[in-house]
Symmetry: C2
DNA sequence: TACGATAGTAAACGTGGTTGACCAAATAGT
DNA sequence: ACTATTTGGTCAACCACGTTTACTATCGTA
């Protein structure tokens, strides 16, 4: 077993991962604001992504995001209030309330994907494509269990 | 300029960085709980680190963490309540209230550093030391501006 | 038809953040 | 020395996001 390298303290790695995440998300939202979506918050893009093109329900959204159905419902309320999601009745089941992305939400989603692609290109231009590929592969190896768990505020705060 | 690789969509990179961060922090706290610190939350370790061995004040802590002095004060209150921090008067300035790490807090801090070192070793055993070094170097290149900004819940939620 | 499972909502609460207002103590200026 | 400003801390009100508990309404089935 290797010995801890004093020049590479273990606590730096999580901070660097967080800083990388934060940098990408901040850059994304700076560009989104320039392109007409200043209200979109970091969380919202992931929620829109989780709703998807086909729509879903609050309960299913909660399962996808790893949060309770109540929390998912409140988040949907906020996104509805700013015009990125809409609710509709399900004609085949009066209990369900379909959640759908509005045209404005779809625009934000499409722009987010494009901006993320451009940001990744910036990383490959600076670091080289192989390094970025390696980073993604290695993170997938070490962290696949936490893929798409978005309850960040509650998780981090406690 | 490179073209977006459909096999490497840009949105995966931030999710993987977040998943990596989350994996390390979850592993840390699982081990901390086993070693007698089950109350320590993800945020708390970073706050203890920011207080440091010499102690500080709530206002200065807020500046270090990138949050308001009021938010820093409330966080200190909570850590005082669980025994990781203590307050003391400053004999040289009656306005200031020194915040210091308690022995229990110091124990948690020391264990956190050791656990982070062990977790990094696990990564180097799986991925190879060069790959982990490269990941750290590359993240430092791309994200140095966001080193140690810990206002995660407020930033992410909005 | 009656019952259990499911979708959604409401209420109360905890954590972490913000701004605005305020007080007390230290410091600077005349 | 006496104001005036700055600084450290706290309080109150509020927002975002999450939780658990409790409840209603509807669906599907025995």
């Amino acid at each position: 077993m290797a010995t801890a390298d004093p020049a590479r303290p273990g606590f730096a790695l999580p901070l660097l991962l967080l800083a990388g995440f934060r940098t990408l998300i901040d850059d994304l939202h700076a560009e989104l604001a320039r392109e007409g979506h200043p209200e979109l918050r970091p969380l919202h893009g992931f929620v829109l992504q989780a709703v998807g093109a086909d729509g879903t329900t609050a309960t299913e959204l909660g399962q996808r995001l790893g949060i309770s159905k109540q929390a998912a419902g409140k988040t949907v309320d906020r996104l509805v209030a700013v015009g990125y999601l809409e609710r509709a009745d399900d004609p085949s089941d009066a209990r369900r309330r379909l959640v759908r992305v509005t045209p404005r939400g779809a625009d934000g989603l499409r722009r987010s994907a494009e901006i993320f692609d451009r940001l990744r290109e910036r990383w490959t231009e600076t670091l080289g494509p192989d390094r970025v590929d390696a980073m993604e592969d290695d993170l997938l190896t070490m962290a696949s269990a936490n893929w798409f768990r978005l309850d960040v505020p509650g998780w981090f705060g406690g």
